[in-house]
Protein backbone atom coordinates (compact mmCIF):
# COMPACT_ATOMS: atom_id res chain seq x y z
CA UNK A 1 0.00 0.00 0.00
CA UNK A 2 3.11 2.21 0.03
CA UNK A 3 2.15 3.55 -3.40
CA UNK A 4 -0.69 5.46 -1.72
CA UNK A 5 1.80 7.38 0.42
CA UNK A 6 1.04 11.10 0.30
CA UNK A 7 4.41 12.66 -0.53
CA UNK A 8 3.69 15.99 1.18
CA UNK A 9 2.45 14.23 4.32
CA UNK A 10 5.52 12.16 4.95
CA UNK A 11 7.76 12.57 7.98
CA UNK A 12 10.93 10.90 9.18
CA UNK A 13 9.27 7.76 10.50
CA UNK A 14 5.61 7.96 9.48
CA UNK A 15 3.48 8.92 6.52
CA UNK A 16 -0.19 9.43 5.85
CA UNK A 17 -2.24 7.81 3.14
CA UNK A 18 -5.94 7.46 2.27
CA UNK A 19 -7.76 4.55 3.82
CA UNK A 20 -8.71 1.82 1.34
CA UNK A 21 -11.14 -1.07 1.53
CA UNK A 22 -8.38 -3.57 2.32
CA UNK A 23 -7.78 -1.69 5.58
CA UNK A 24 -10.97 -3.28 6.94
CA UNK A 25 -8.77 -6.15 8.12
CA UNK A 26 -6.78 -3.82 10.39
CA UNK A 27 -9.62 -1.76 11.83
CA UNK A 28 -8.44 -1.55 15.46
CA UNK A 29 -5.35 0.23 14.17
CA UNK A 30 -7.29 3.09 12.55
CA UNK A 31 -10.77 3.08 14.06
CA UNK A 32 -11.03 5.24 17.19
CA UNK A 33 -12.26 3.98 20.53
CA UNK A 34 -11.54 1.05 22.78
CA UNK A 35 -14.37 -1.17 21.56
CA UNK A 36 -13.90 -4.16 19.30
CA UNK A 37 -14.58 -3.85 15.61
CA UNK A 38 -14.74 -6.66 13.05
CA UNK A 39 -13.86 -6.54 9.37
CA UNK A 40 -17.49 -6.56 8.16
CA UNK A 41 -18.40 -3.58 10.31
CA UNK A 42 -15.16 -1.85 9.37
CA UNK A 43 -16.01 -2.20 5.67
CA UNK A 44 -19.32 -0.39 6.25
CA UNK A 45 -17.57 2.33 8.21
CA UNK A 46 -15.00 2.84 5.45
CA UNK A 47 -17.76 3.18 2.87
CA UNK A 48 -19.82 5.51 5.07
CA UNK A 49 -16.81 7.67 5.90
CA UNK A 50 -16.00 8.02 2.20
CA UNK A 51 -19.22 10.04 1.92
CA UNK A 52 -18.48 11.97 5.11
CA UNK A 53 -17.35 15.59 4.81
CA UNK A 54 -14.56 14.84 7.29
CA UNK A 55 -11.43 13.09 6.14
CA UNK A 56 -9.69 10.22 7.93
CA UNK A 57 -6.19 9.26 6.84
CA UNK A 58 -4.19 6.23 7.84
CA UNK A 59 -1.01 6.91 9.81
CA UNK A 60 1.61 4.42 8.63
CA UNK A 61 5.08 3.54 9.91
CA UNK A 62 7.52 4.05 7.03
CA UNK A 63 9.84 1.22 7.94
CA UNK A 64 7.16 -1.48 7.92
CA UNK A 65 4.17 0.02 6.03
CA UNK A 66 2.10 -0.98 9.08
CA UNK A 67 -0.91 1.15 10.02
CA UNK A 68 -0.16 2.60 13.45
CA UNK A 69 -3.10 4.95 13.75
CA UNK A 70 -5.26 7.47 11.96
CA UNK A 71 -5.78 11.20 11.70
CA UNK A 72 -9.24 12.70 11.33
CA UNK A 73 -9.68 16.18 9.85
CA UNK A 74 -12.99 17.92 10.46
CA UNK A 75 -14.17 21.26 9.14
CA UNK A 76 -17.65 22.62 8.76
CA UNK A 77 -16.68 25.73 6.85
CA UNK A 78 -14.68 24.58 3.86
CA UNK A 79 -11.38 24.27 5.75
CA UNK A 80 -11.21 27.79 7.09
CA UNK A 81 -11.05 26.18 10.51
CA UNK A 82 -10.03 22.59 11.06
CA UNK A 83 -10.10 20.23 14.05
CA UNK A 84 -7.52 17.43 13.99
CA UNK A 85 -7.94 14.32 16.12
CA UNK A 86 -5.65 11.32 16.38
CA UNK A 87 -6.19 7.66 17.07
CA UNK A 88 -3.25 5.37 17.79
CA UNK A 89 -3.31 1.62 17.38
CA UNK A 90 -3.77 -0.07 20.76
CA UNK A 91 -0.87 -2.42 20.08
CA UNK A 92 1.66 0.40 19.73
CA UNK A 93 3.78 1.44 22.70
CA UNK A 94 5.10 4.71 21.25
CA UNK A 95 1.80 6.61 20.95
CA UNK A 96 3.19 9.94 22.07
CA UNK A 97 6.12 9.88 19.62
CA UNK A 98 3.89 8.79 16.72
CA UNK A 99 1.32 11.49 17.46
CA UNK A 100 4.05 14.13 17.76
CA UNK A 101 5.49 13.24 14.38
CA UNK A 102 2.06 13.16 12.76
CA UNK A 103 1.43 16.62 14.17
CA UNK A 104 4.70 17.89 12.63
CA UNK A 105 3.50 16.64 9.26
CA UNK A 106 -0.14 17.73 9.41
CA UNK A 107 -0.03 21.22 10.89
CA UNK A 108 2.38 22.89 8.43
CA UNK A 109 0.40 21.41 5.53
CA UNK A 110 -2.95 22.70 6.82
CA UNK A 111 -1.72 26.10 7.96
CA UNK A 112 0.87 26.96 5.33
CA UNK A 113 -0.39 25.19 2.20
CA UNK A 114 -4.12 24.68 2.71
CA UNK A 115 -4.51 28.26 4.05
CA UNK A 116 -6.51 27.06 7.03
CA UNK A 117 -7.03 30.02 9.38
CA UNK A 118 -6.89 28.04 12.58
CA UNK A 119 -5.94 24.42 13.17
CA UNK A 120 -7.11 23.01 16.49
CA UNK A 121 -5.68 19.86 18.05
CA UNK A 122 -6.79 18.21 21.27
CA UNK A 123 -4.24 16.30 23.31
CA UNK A 124 -3.98 14.88 26.80
CA UNK A 125 -1.93 16.74 29.38
CA UNK A 126 0.46 13.81 29.86
CA UNK A 127 1.46 13.57 26.18
CA UNK A 128 4.74 15.41 26.60
CA UNK A 129 6.19 14.75 23.14
CA UNK A 130 3.00 15.87 21.43
CA UNK A 131 2.86 19.05 23.51
CA UNK A 132 6.51 19.78 22.73
CA UNK A 133 5.85 19.26 19.02
CA UNK A 134 2.86 21.61 19.16
CA UNK A 135 4.96 24.30 20.81
CA UNK A 136 7.81 23.81 18.30
CA UNK A 137 5.27 24.37 15.55
CA UNK A 138 4.24 27.69 17.08
CA UNK A 139 0.89 26.42 18.25
CA UNK A 140 -0.64 28.21 21.21
CA UNK A 141 -2.52 26.63 24.12
CA UNK A 142 -6.12 27.77 24.08
CA UNK A 143 -8.23 25.48 26.30
CA UNK A 144 -7.50 23.26 29.30
CA UNK A 145 -10.40 21.03 30.35
CA UNK A 146 -9.69 19.73 33.81
CA UNK A 147 -9.54 15.96 34.40
CA UNK A 148 -11.16 15.36 31.03
CA UNK A 149 -9.19 12.27 30.07
CA UNK A 150 -9.34 8.99 31.98
CA UNK A 151 -6.12 7.05 32.48
CA UNK A 152 -5.58 3.84 34.40
CA UNK A 153 -6.07 4.90 38.01
CA UNK A 154 -6.05 8.64 37.40
CA UNK A 155 -7.31 11.47 35.24
CA UNK A 156 -5.41 14.11 33.27
CA UNK A 157 -6.41 17.40 31.67
CA UNK A 158 -7.32 17.72 28.02
CA UNK A 159 -5.47 20.50 26.19
CA UNK A 160 -6.39 22.23 22.97
CA UNK A 161 -3.56 23.81 21.01
CA UNK A 162 -4.25 26.02 18.02
CA UNK A 163 -2.10 26.93 15.04
CA UNK A 164 -3.10 30.40 13.89
CA UNK A 165 -2.34 31.30 10.32
CA UNK A 166 -0.40 34.59 10.38
CA UNK A 167 -1.54 35.38 6.86
CA UNK A 168 -5.02 35.97 8.19
CA UNK A 169 -4.84 39.40 9.67
CA UNK A 170 -7.80 39.22 11.98
CA UNK A 171 -7.75 41.64 14.85
CA UNK A 172 -8.02 40.28 18.34
CA UNK A 173 -11.46 40.53 19.89
Amino acid sequence: MGEMRIVYLTGECVYLRPLVLADKDFAPAWHPGPFLIGAAQAENILKDEAADPGLRLALVRKETDEIVGSVKLRSNDGFRRCLVTFHLAPSMSDHDALRAEALRVIVPWLRDQMEVMVVSVEMAGDEAETIAAAEELGMVPSVRLREFVARAGCRVDSLTYQALNPRWEVKDA
Partner: protein, 192 residues
Protein backbone atom coordinates in the same frame (compact mmCIF):
# COMPACT_ATOMS: atom_id res chain seq x y z
CA UNK B 1 -46.65 15.14 32.68
CA UNK B 2 -45.79 12.85 29.82
CA UNK B 3 -42.79 10.47 30.13
CA UNK B 4 -40.96 12.59 32.70
CA UNK B 5 -37.33 11.63 33.36
CA UNK B 6 -36.27 14.57 35.52
CA UNK B 7 -38.84 16.64 37.36
CA UNK B 8 -38.38 20.10 38.86
CA UNK B 9 -40.69 22.59 40.48
CA UNK B 10 -42.01 24.18 37.29
CA UNK B 11 -40.44 22.24 34.42
CA UNK B 12 -39.71 18.63 33.61
CA UNK B 13 -37.49 16.85 31.10
CA UNK B 14 -38.75 14.09 28.84
CA UNK B 15 -37.27 12.29 25.82
CA UNK B 16 -37.43 14.37 22.66
CA UNK B 17 -39.88 12.80 20.22
CA UNK B 18 -40.18 12.98 16.44
CA UNK B 19 -43.55 14.62 17.10
CA UNK B 20 -41.64 17.59 18.59
CA UNK B 21 -40.19 18.46 15.17
CA UNK B 22 -42.98 20.84 14.33
CA UNK B 23 -42.66 22.57 17.69
CA UNK B 24 -38.94 23.10 17.11
CA UNK B 25 -39.51 24.58 13.65
CA UNK B 26 -42.21 26.84 15.10
CA UNK B 27 -39.82 28.11 17.78
CA UNK B 28 -37.19 28.84 15.10
CA UNK B 29 -39.77 30.64 12.97
CA UNK B 30 -40.57 33.21 15.64
CA UNK B 31 -37.04 33.70 16.99
CA UNK B 32 -36.29 37.36 17.65
CA UNK B 33 -33.11 37.19 19.75
CA UNK B 34 -29.73 37.18 18.03
CA UNK B 35 -27.37 36.84 20.98
CA UNK B 36 -26.75 33.09 20.66
CA UNK B 37 -25.00 32.59 17.35
CA UNK B 38 -24.79 34.55 14.12
CA UNK B 39 -28.52 35.12 13.99
CA UNK B 40 -31.84 33.33 13.65
CA UNK B 41 -32.08 30.55 11.10
CA UNK B 42 -35.33 29.05 9.82
CA UNK B 43 -35.68 25.29 10.00
CA UNK B 44 -37.90 22.58 8.60
CA UNK B 45 -39.85 20.02 10.66
CA UNK B 46 -38.64 17.40 8.17
CA UNK B 47 -35.03 18.17 9.07
CA UNK B 48 -35.80 18.01 12.77
CA UNK B 49 -37.62 14.68 12.32
CA UNK B 50 -34.55 13.16 10.72
CA UNK B 51 -32.25 14.53 13.40
CA UNK B 52 -34.48 13.37 16.26
CA UNK B 53 -34.80 9.84 14.82
CA UNK B 54 -31.02 9.68 14.49
CA UNK B 55 -30.57 10.49 18.19
CA UNK B 56 -31.94 7.06 19.05
CA UNK B 57 -29.88 5.02 16.57
CA UNK B 58 -26.88 4.54 18.87
CA UNK B 59 -26.91 2.50 22.07
CA UNK B 60 -25.48 3.86 24.29
CA UNK B 61 -26.32 7.20 22.71
CA UNK B 62 -23.73 9.73 21.59
CA UNK B 63 -26.08 12.67 22.12
CA UNK B 64 -28.84 12.86 24.72
CA UNK B 65 -31.43 15.54 24.07
CA UNK B 66 -34.31 16.27 26.44
CA UNK B 67 -37.46 18.17 25.66
CA UNK B 68 -38.08 20.82 28.32
CA UNK B 69 -41.78 21.07 29.19
CA UNK B 70 -43.83 23.15 31.58
CA UNK B 71 -45.45 21.12 34.33
CA UNK B 72 -48.58 23.24 34.36
CA UNK B 73 -49.66 22.49 30.77
CA UNK B 74 -47.03 20.17 29.23
CA UNK B 75 -46.02 22.93 26.82
CA UNK B 76 -42.77 22.15 25.00
CA UNK B 77 -40.43 25.15 25.46
CA UNK B 78 -37.01 23.96 24.34
CA UNK B 79 -34.11 21.58 24.72
CA UNK B 80 -31.36 20.73 27.14
CA UNK B 81 -28.71 18.33 25.91
CA UNK B 82 -25.48 16.56 26.54
CA UNK B 83 -23.59 15.92 23.32
CA UNK B 84 -20.62 13.76 22.42
CA UNK B 85 -21.09 11.64 25.52
CA UNK B 86 -17.94 9.61 26.08
CA UNK B 87 -18.71 6.76 28.47
CA UNK B 88 -15.06 5.72 28.66
CA UNK B 89 -13.68 9.09 29.73
CA UNK B 90 -17.04 9.95 31.34
CA UNK B 91 -17.32 13.38 29.79
CA UNK B 92 -19.75 15.27 27.57
CA UNK B 93 -20.67 18.70 26.26
CA UNK B 94 -23.82 20.42 27.46
CA UNK B 95 -26.08 22.77 25.57
CA UNK B 96 -29.47 24.35 26.02
CA UNK B 97 -31.98 26.34 24.09
CA UNK B 98 -35.33 27.74 25.19
CA UNK B 99 -37.83 29.53 23.01
CA UNK B 100 -39.68 31.50 21.91
CA UNK B 101 -38.23 34.64 23.50
CA UNK B 102 -41.24 35.08 25.79
CA UNK B 103 -40.30 31.98 27.83
CA UNK B 104 -36.78 33.29 28.55
CA UNK B 105 -35.88 35.27 31.69
CA UNK B 106 -38.41 33.37 33.79
CA UNK B 107 -35.98 30.94 35.40
CA UNK B 108 -37.16 27.95 33.38
CA UNK B 109 -33.76 27.59 31.69
CA UNK B 110 -31.82 27.51 34.95
CA UNK B 111 -34.21 24.95 36.42
CA UNK B 112 -34.02 22.77 33.31
CA UNK B 113 -30.25 23.02 33.22
CA UNK B 114 -29.90 21.89 36.84
CA UNK B 115 -32.10 18.90 36.02
CA UNK B 116 -29.84 18.09 33.06
CA UNK B 117 -26.73 18.39 35.23
CA UNK B 118 -28.27 16.12 37.84
CA UNK B 119 -28.95 13.58 35.10
CA UNK B 120 -25.37 13.87 33.81
CA UNK B 121 -23.59 13.67 37.15
CA UNK B 122 -25.89 11.53 39.28
CA UNK B 123 -27.44 9.16 36.74
CA UNK B 124 -24.83 8.84 34.00
CA UNK B 125 -22.04 9.45 36.54
CA UNK B 126 -20.09 11.66 34.17
CA UNK B 127 -16.97 13.18 35.73
CA UNK B 128 -16.59 16.49 33.89
CA UNK B 129 -18.74 18.45 31.47
CA UNK B 130 -17.75 21.12 29.03
CA UNK B 131 -19.69 23.86 27.32
CA UNK B 132 -18.89 26.36 24.63
CA UNK B 133 -20.29 29.79 23.75
CA UNK B 134 -19.20 32.63 21.52
CA UNK B 135 -17.54 35.46 23.43
CA UNK B 136 -20.30 37.77 22.22
CA UNK B 137 -22.91 35.62 23.93
CA UNK B 138 -22.47 37.21 27.34
CA UNK B 139 -25.91 36.08 28.41
CA UNK B 140 -25.11 32.37 28.12
CA UNK B 141 -21.65 32.92 29.64
CA UNK B 142 -23.27 34.50 32.69
CA UNK B 143 -25.73 31.60 32.96
CA UNK B 144 -22.90 29.05 32.81
CA UNK B 145 -20.99 30.89 35.55
CA UNK B 146 -24.09 30.81 37.76
CA UNK B 147 -24.41 27.07 37.17
CA UNK B 148 -20.85 26.56 38.45
CA UNK B 149 -18.91 26.32 35.19
CA UNK B 150 -15.35 27.72 35.08
CA UNK B 151 -13.71 29.35 32.09
CA UNK B 152 -11.33 26.78 30.58
CA UNK B 153 -9.95 28.89 27.75
CA UNK B 154 -10.67 30.64 24.49
CA UNK B 155 -10.56 29.28 20.99
CA UNK B 156 -9.57 31.78 18.33
CA UNK B 157 -11.77 32.80 15.43
CA UNK B 158 -14.56 30.47 16.44
CA UNK B 159 -17.28 32.03 14.28
CA UNK B 160 -18.44 35.22 12.61
CA UNK B 161 -20.52 37.82 14.40
CA UNK B 162 -21.15 41.46 13.58
CA UNK B 163 -18.91 41.32 10.54
CA UNK B 164 -15.79 39.88 12.12
CA UNK B 165 -14.36 36.67 13.49
CA UNK B 166 -14.97 36.29 17.20
CA UNK B 167 -13.46 33.92 19.74
CA UNK B 168 -15.24 31.19 21.63
CA UNK B 169 -15.20 30.63 25.37
CA UNK B 170 -14.83 27.07 26.62
CA UNK B 171 -16.05 26.12 30.10
CA UNK B 172 -15.80 23.04 32.27
CA UNK B 173 -17.73 21.81 35.29
CA UNK B 174 -17.14 19.12 37.89
CA UNK B 175 -19.81 17.63 40.12
CA UNK B 176 -18.82 19.34 43.38
CA UNK B 177 -18.85 22.71 41.65
CA UNK B 178 -22.29 22.04 40.23
CA UNK B 179 -23.62 20.98 43.64
CA UNK B 180 -22.34 24.21 45.20
CA UNK B 181 -23.92 26.26 42.43
CA UNK B 182 -27.21 24.41 42.74
CA UNK B 183 -27.26 24.95 46.51
CA UNK B 184 -26.71 28.67 45.97
CA UNK B 185 -29.50 28.76 43.38
CA UNK B 186 -31.90 26.90 45.66
CA UNK B 187 -31.07 29.26 48.54
CA UNK B 188 -31.69 32.27 46.33
CA UNK B 189 -35.07 30.87 45.33
CA UNK B 190 -36.11 30.25 48.90
CA UNK B 191 -34.95 33.74 49.90
CA UNK B 192 -32.37 32.51 52.47
Amino acid sequence: MRNPIMVGERVYLRPLEVADAEGLASIDAVETDTFMWRGPMPSSPLGHEKWIAKLYEHRPPKDIVFAVCLKEDDRFIGLVSVYAVDFVNRVGETGSFLGPAEVRDKGYGTEAKHLLLEYCFDRLHLHVLQSFVLETNTRSSAALAKQGYSLAGRTKWADIKNGRYVDGNAYDLKRDEWLAARDAWLRSRSGD
